[in-house]
Symmetry: none
Subunit: 202 residues, 4 copies
Amino acid sequence: MNVHSLLVGTMDKRITILIAAETLLSERGFYGLSMKLLAQRADIAAGTIYCYFKNKDALLSELLIHINMQVANKLFENWTDTQSLQQKYEILWKNTFNSVLRNPQRLNVVDMLLFRPGHDRKEIKNILRSNVFSPLFDFYQQGIDNNTFHAWPIEALLSLSFDSAINLAKHILRQRLEKNEELVAQVRKASWLIIQKQNNQF
Amino acid sequence: MNVHSLLVGTMDKRITILIAAETLLSERGFYGLSMKLLAQRADIAAGTIYCYFKNKDALLSELLIHINMQVANKLFENWTDTQSLQQKYEILWKNTFNSVLRNPQRLNVVDMLLFRPGHDRKEIKNILRSNVFSPLFDFYQQGIDNNTFHAWPIEALLSLSFDSAINLAKHILRQRLEKNEELVAQVRKASWLIIQKQNNQF
Amino acid sequence: MNVHSLLVGTMDKRITILIAAETLLSERGFYGLSMKLLAQRADIAAGTIYCYFKNKDALLSELLIHINMQVANKLFENWTDTQSLQQKYEILWKNTFNSVLRNPQRLNVVDMLLFRPGHDRKEIKNILRSNVFSPLFDFYQQGIDNNTFHAWPIEALLSLSFDSAINLAKHILRQRLEKNEELVAQVRKASWLIIQKQNNQF
Amino acid sequence: MNVHSLLVGTMDKRITILIAAETLLSERGFYGLSMKLLAQRADIAAGTIYCYFKNKDALLSELLIHINMQVANKLFENWTDTQSLQQKYEILWKNTFNSVLRNPQRLNVVDMLLFRPGHDRKEIKNILRSNVFSPLFDFYQQGIDNNTFHAWPIEALLSLSFDSAINLAKHILRQRLEKNEELVAQVRKASWLIIQKQNNQF
DNA sequence: CATGAATGAGTTTTCATTCAT
DNA sequence: GATGAATGAAAACTCATTCAT
């Protein structure tokens, strides 16, 4: 066994543990994630987890990052440089909307992780923003810079446009609305129009 | 002591416990709410809590309802029948936005209560919707009925309009943006325009 | 209200409490007898019990005595002075046997009371023996004195004769044997014969 | 350390806990057996008990079985195949009588375990009867089959014969009678004679 | 690296008892 | 005598973490 295979093996076990943790969180909620049960699911001994993670809290923090990185990957799927801003926006919005709808548990899991005791939500949010989600901010900045979007702080734009994808998906999940493709397209289109500079003067 | 003062006294202790519970949830998170600590904060014996609430879960359910009723009261503050739809919307949006900004922890607490293990979120959501938040839905239905708003499901309208108040407030809290009154007004106005039927055809 | 009616009323409530206690013990076992539940059953406030009994243990001790007095009454039912020893024995044995069979819970209740923590079984046993059960000992002494029974210590005679009624009833209860009248009569007769001096020489 | 010593070590701790439990039950009664105190007596941490027993009830069930197996072993001590029925009976009776006398608390402990709330006595009784105590039933069946004993249900025979050993021992314990060897022998002999078919016709 | 037995502080909940009314 | 709200010690049980192997 060489160093490389060792590292790979090590990484695999880390990931195995993280995946088992997410599964347990979505299956059994925050209380359902005991280290003993996690070990069973990951097919290792309880003590072994502590070879890879300092403690439960560190494990959960890493899980949050791990999930966010996966989410970010989904978000920018199918983006290419030749697309227009609007094309990119539609893809971004659809990816987001569909991610929430297709894996609603994951939204819960992220919430559990964000609301867990002793966790400073701002800290990790900032870490993520400046890394995995930076293309999202770059996208909006570009729209601002070329006079397409209102010259507002990006968060203001997000609250009217990007966030609507998550909002609508949540409403659908809660309300058991039928997923009406036409309606979804209308909301998406509206959320695009509302941040256009030329269409709306306030 | 008469019956009335007795009831008031009894109610006071219930409320005292609920308030202490909310404080602890926002200060220490879901884990931080142990019944022993709660008793200390409420300045009573641990056993006394069980004179007022069957068990911890019942207490948390009541807390959720208690908070939602307070929130709903805030939401419709300053509404009068003579106001136009737009006036009502502005009040509603401002109330919501300010509620989140002024008591950001409360949003977290509600999430903790909704995400707590073994809790069926839909059940309570429906209870609340059909009661304390029904004016919100009535408001949107009215706008739809008189051809002011798009004839979409109310949730679709919410995701573009009302939700933006919460979204923006959250972004401000997370980002520590200065609360720029003009920007806030712009976002609010945009969120109003986007659901108008006459202004936008999709 | 005069002193007499007060005493009668007082006595009634004592008995009411004791009866409720026995009912709860047989219905719900030892754990099922909480003072709060007992108060509910007796239709009084929890604190009121302490007007009649010093504490739970004193209540249970009195219940044990109360039950034993009732049991003793059953035991000697239908005894008359004109009956022969053997007639008396048959009545005694039948009464005992039937008491156990008809109210098996009562046997359990007595056991619960005897095995309760901190209870010195010998103490109460002796109190009872020298009082409510003294006719039983008198009966055996009479048989010894007139040369009918073996001149053994009464306990030795009991272990072969009277005890068989309880033993058999217990076996029937545990085993769900059919209550075969003929068999019961045979056992009873055998238990009578075995203590006769003239029939058995050892 | 090999597998065998590991198993032995594990078994030892189980047994240590069971022995401590029996001691506490006999010393302090049913209430006196708290898991914390049990852990102290067994010189382990409170949580360790739950490595070996699912919960308190499972522990008590195992204790009942454990004790009954030990009791059964004592019961049939010194039996050999060449002995006559009467020889076997005398040994059986003496073993039983002495077991009760030598470890009177054990009788109480067994009763506590049988009478403990939520415990179905019949279930375990049947398990034991069909296993550890089956030689006892075989013994009586043999006596019935070869026309030595009355052809009654075994329980009827037990109530007159075997049970007398326990009855007498209990009476001696309660009464603090001197253990009179001659008297004991007489009772034992009487209990043997009473179940003989040839000696007694009813 | 991996194990899993052992730990013990921590949890929720019960309940006999008290005492101001 | 009667009440019942309040008490707080104690119960059974959980579980993140450690450490000898």
